[in-house]
């Protein structure tokens, strides 16, 4: 039985060779992506920081009111944001928010078309499904290493890792939504002379919208759950104080930073969720 252990299959070496090959051959490309994404995120953070804290606060509260017409929610949003400001995590909160926003936007921009394609071409989904499963089950730290190598230290590997983790949600739910559009609605669209394009954006997408919205909400929450891990590779945000607290066994800092993350999560969840649920009524 020794030969089994003696002749180790060099899977890891192959992967490393592949990543090396990528670094060697496509370094320019990865650098370009890295630089431009980093610039985008940092300048967005800068823009948000130009305003005094009450401006984003008022905007969030207004958005909550506009979408839900719920006074308790508006009060909660304001109080939670004031608490974050008071704890001294305003800047980190903004950085996290921008990271989540960027990761979600990119995931949605890439994920929805892939989901639509998968719903229309069954073979695409057959190929896609194991890949999505892999992306969601493989431990995050594992792909943190190659992204770190490819994109260098900073916010971009964090962003890429977040996207890898979160993009499955919009893909899966778009796929689900589009493939579950009632057959008679599709037929009605066809019967009234819809072109394939009109059928997609006048029938299929509106019909799948509750699912797609759920996918986006899920994507936001998954992105947020990655902030601590993103901080490991140097992304700024609320993850950093958590890591720092862990390294210094600082209970009070860990608790406060953790609380700030939870508050951001609740705000995002409450604001994003219901517009989809409203249509069910």
């Amino acid at each position: 039985m020794n030969w089994i252990t003696d002749n180790k299959i060099p899977l890891g070496d192959w992967m490393e060779a592949f990543v090396d090959w990528l670094t060697f051959n496509a370094a320019g490309l990865f650098d370009a992506i890295s630089v431009s994404l980093e610039w985008l995120i940092l300048s967005m953070v800068d823009i948000f920081q130009m305003f005094p804290p009450f401006v984003p606060m008022a905007m969030t509260a207004a958005l909550a009111w506009f979408l839900h017409r719920s006074i308790p929610l508006v009060i909660f949003v304001v109080v939670a944001l004031l608490l974050i400001l008071n704890l001294g995590y305003w800047q980190e909160m903004l950085e996290t928010f921008v990271l989540v926003l960027a990761a979600t936007t990119l995931s949605v921009i890439m994920g929805i078309p892939v989901g639509i394609l998968a719903a229309h071409k069954p073979w695409v989904y057959t190929i896609l499904r194991p890949i999505l499963d892999l992306m969601q089950t493989i431990p995050t730290f594992v792909y943190l290493i190659p992204t770190l190598v490819l994109f260098g230290l900073g916010v971009v590997p964090g962003l890429i890792s977040t996207i890898i983790f979160a993009i499955a949600a919009p893909i899966r739910l778009t796929y689900l939504g589009i493939s579950r559009v009632p057959e008679d609605l599709i037929e009605a669209g066809k019967a009234f002379g819809a072109t394939p394009f009109k059928l997609l954006y006048k029938v299929e997408l509106p019909a799948a919208m509750p699912n797609i919205m759920a996918g986006i909400t899920q994507c936001i929450m998954l992105s947020l759950s990655m902030v601590v891990i993103a901080a490991l590779v140097g992304a700024d945000g609320l993850g950093k104080p958590v890591i720092r607290a862990l390294n210094t066994v600082n209970i009070s800092q860990g608790f406060e930073a953790g609380l700030a993350i939870v508050l951001v999560a609740i705000i995002l969840d409450r604001i994003c969720k219901a517009p989809g649920a409203k249509e069910e009524g």
Binding site: D184, L185, F192, E279
Partner: protein, 415 residues
Amino acid sequence: MTSLSSATTTQATDMQEHVSAISIRNLDVIFGNWSHDSLRMLDAGKTRQEIIETTGDVVGVKNASIEVQQGEICVLMGLSGSGKSSLLRAVNGLNKVSRGELLVRDGERMVNIAECDANTLRHMRSKRVSMVFQKFALMPWLTVLDNVAFGLEMQGIDKATRRDMAMEKLKMVGLDEWHGKYPHELSGGMQQRVGLARAFAIDSDILLMDEPFSALDPLIRSQLQDELIELQKRLNKTILFVSHDLDEALKIGTNIAIMESAEIIQHGKPEDIVLNPSNAYVQDFVAHTNPLNVLRGRALMTNVEQLERRDDTVVLDRHNNTLVTLDADGKPASASRNGQALGLQHWEEGQDLDQIQADQLMITTPDISMRDAIEIRHRTSLPVLLCEDGKCTGMLEDDDFYHALLGKHFNKETG
């Protein structure tokens, strides 16, 4: 109340231009991937079951040929799985035609849906043929008004124009006040009215209706049937209507095509179907229908030749000694019962039945509906005399009505 089916039949005969709106010849529709093999098996006379076992294909329609004239309501009737919906859906290309010809009128020309390209098909769907669905198929995220405007939106008409046009059609079905609501806020009957308005909105000549009223409760169903008949009279659309309910078919159909296991087994006027069912399957359907609105005097009457004669006097009812005297042309001149003279009075369809008095022998045409004839018989307590071209041709008595109501009229010949 005059019978609705008789109204449509007269209307259809009035404008008999004999212009085909839909012309279907030897049409096969097969669902599945092996339609060549399946067609070969079909030609070899194999049954649906044998084909599904060998190739896995389902035969939807087999060798169907049917002409639908402009302005006609043609009802495709049959049990579920008989292929009626498959045939209907082939007309606007929702089902692909496997073989045969399917011509649909496009202005002056006929377009063969079976082999036209995608652009032509889209043109036909957006301008010529519209559809009403069994489960309404309204877009839940659109308001009632925007649902009605849906077909116009597909044509790329701008929002303001299409909303104006949609509003007009919404008024037509009496739902203009509901324009801002969403479909789920409406009852089933109202939702189907919206479906109807949506189909009317594109001003197509041909309407395909796939069991549009089956999902509604009976009262609403009957109401919508009446409305459809009214609208059809006003707008003169050609309607291909699928139904599994013979009563519905008899009520609204100008012609009825009965389908059984993918084939059209009988095609004719409602009365023909009821009087001469072509096989046991149709007979079974007919036995469960109400003949009151369908059958006419001609089919039920006892011929004047069969009645007992005493010189120029004909005995209508021996028991009460009801006699009618005919002149040399065979025209009724006078009538009496038990020696007492009776008045003679003419009645035509549409006249008020309440005006009829007892002891008046009513003279009418053989085209009278069974319902009206019974009403007259009931009011006068006398037989009903039927005359055509001034000549007495027959009469209707209780026996004739009972015969029809008990479904024993199958073998009685028309005219």
